[in-house]
């Protein structure tokens, strides 16, 4: 009665979704990670060195304009990392691919560091520009709130022992958090208007920066994107290994 019938091998998904299999994912990431590391280092080095040494000063902001090569890419990645976590959480909820949930977990600390860099460089830039380390500028405030969201997300992952429960709960939090993060963004915009004028100098000048600043900035952004990808791939691999270790130990305990 207790004999289980021999199961027919379930059809393996092919194409993109086949990389949702942890083993295949690990093999793939092993193959492309070295290239990715090198590319990101090269792009970062080129972009930052170009920006730091070979671009002129801005006529209003002076040499502080060089900070945009760090600030803009990290701010972009801070938001994109959360967006990537949102997509990964949705994939986990809908298709229940473990790699997806672990990728979201792996991306969170990277997002935190990106947010932190954006905040720190923003504050340092604001010091000479606004005469104060911290102004409750809507953008800076939004990033501070995003930072809090990241902390909560990571804390929830850490607090729950069962990996599937943790993946489910953090996914729900990520979804709800995304809605509230957008709401907060609007709320903060509204809130600061009422108090004082917006900053006379905006930190994000992508739209109207001159080409001299624009091209090294693009290279730096590419570097940050590649570094983010490399870090997330590598960290996802780490999470998969930890999870596999756990599964093996659990099986051993049952034998």
């Amino acid at each position: 009665m207790s004999v289980t019938e021999p199961k027919t091998q379930p059809k393996r998904p092919s194409g993109f979704w086949s990389y949702a299999n942890p083993v295949k994912f690990l093999a793939l990431s092993e193959r492309i990670l070295p290239t990715l590391w090198w590319l990101s280092v090269i792009c970062l080095a080129v972009g930052l060195i170009w920006g730091f040494f070979f671009t002129p000063d801005d006529f209003r902001q002076g040499s502080t304009v060089k900070i945009i090569y760090l600030h803009v890419p990290s701010a972009l990645m801070a938001i994109n990392a959360w967006f990537m976590m949102l997509v990964a959480s949705l994939i986990w909820i809908v298709r229940r691919h473990h790699v997806s949930a672990l990728a979201a977990k792996a991306a969170a600390p990277v997002g935190v560091v990106m947010t932190l860099i954006a905040l720190v460089t923003g504050a340092i830039w604001g010091q000479p520009m606004w005469g104060t380390w911290w102004a409750w500028d809507p953008r800076l405030t939004s990033f501070l709130i995003l930072f809090l969201f990241y902390l909560g997300y990571i804390a929830l992952w850490e607090a729950i022992e069962d990996p599937d429960t943790a993946a489910d709960l953090t996914s729900v939090l990520c979804l709800v958090g995304s809605v509230f993060a957008v709401l907060s963004r609007y709320a903060v915009n509204f809130w600061n208007q009422g108090l004082h004028q917006g900053a006379s100098l905006s930190l994000d000048k992508e739209e109207n920066v001159a080409d001299v600043f624009y091209f090294p900035l693009l290279v730096a952004i590419a570097g940050f994107v590649l570094l983010f990808l490399a870090l997330v791939l590598y960290r996802t691999g780490t999470e998969i290994r930890l999870r596999r270790t756990r599964a093996l130990l659990a099986r051993e305990a049952r034998l």
Partner: protein, 206 residues
């Protein structure tokens, strides 16, 4: 009213504990679950009650039919016996609690706060809760813990009365309840082998 379970596989913490469980439970029948601690009886009951999804297999006829009673009775110590029972009756869309009070001889305790009851009295109150739900299938996880001999007999009578009215019961217990026509399901042979991980969350990583 009947419960049909086909080739059910249940998991605890992402690991299968019982597989290939099949049984039918018709009106008037009682099924006793036996098996050592940790064999998955509680997990099976929780799955049947709809608290957790099965890994595979079908459960038919469980929807809105089950009154579940676990180790903790969901009693509030700052509410009286009456209030506790009335609350659960209302949640299940019913009013009458007298029959339940009667069956578990709680009449003298009606005004007492549940927090002041002894462990056995609390347990009786928890079991009386089953009666007020009006649900046909009782699923009981070790219902006789902290009950004395008299109270166990009281409980057995309540089960028999429930069966006589066309109810059914699924009871995980170690002791003999003295129910004559009880079928027994030993979960031991259904324990999942450590290698069998079909559908478990660990499967993808092994």
């Amino acid at each position: 009213m009947s419960l049909a379970v086909t080739d059910l596989c249940v998991a605890r913490g992402g690991v299968p504990v019982l597989t290939g469980i099949s049984f039918d439970l018709a009106a008037g029948q009682v099924l006793i679950l036996r098996g050592p601690n940790g064999s998955g009886k509680t997990t099976l009951l929780r799955t049947l009650a709809g608290l957790q999804p099965p890994l595979s297999g079908q459960i038919e006829g469980a929807e809105d039919q089950i009154a579940y009673a676990a180790h903790s009775d969901g009693l509030k110590s700052m509410l009286s016996v009456d209030e506790n029972l009335t609350f659960w009756a209302q949640v299940f869309g019913r009013k009458d609690i007298d029959a339940a009070i009667e069956a578990f001889r709680l009449g003298e305790l009606r005004r007492r706060l549940a927090g002041t009851l002894s462990a056995g009295q609390k347990r009786r109150l928890g079991l009386a809760r089953l009666l007020v739900t009006g649900r046909p299938i009782w699923m009981l996880d070790e219902p006789t813990v902290s009950l004395d001999v008299d109270a166990v007999a009281m409980f057995a009578r309540a089960v028999r009365a429930h069966l006589a009215q066309g109810g059914a019961a699924l009871i995980a217990t170690h002791i003999d309840l003295g129910l004559d026509d009880a079928q027994v399901l030993d979960v031991g042979p259904f324990r999942a082998s450590p290698e069998d991980l079909a559908g478990a969350s660990d499967e993808a990583f092994l």
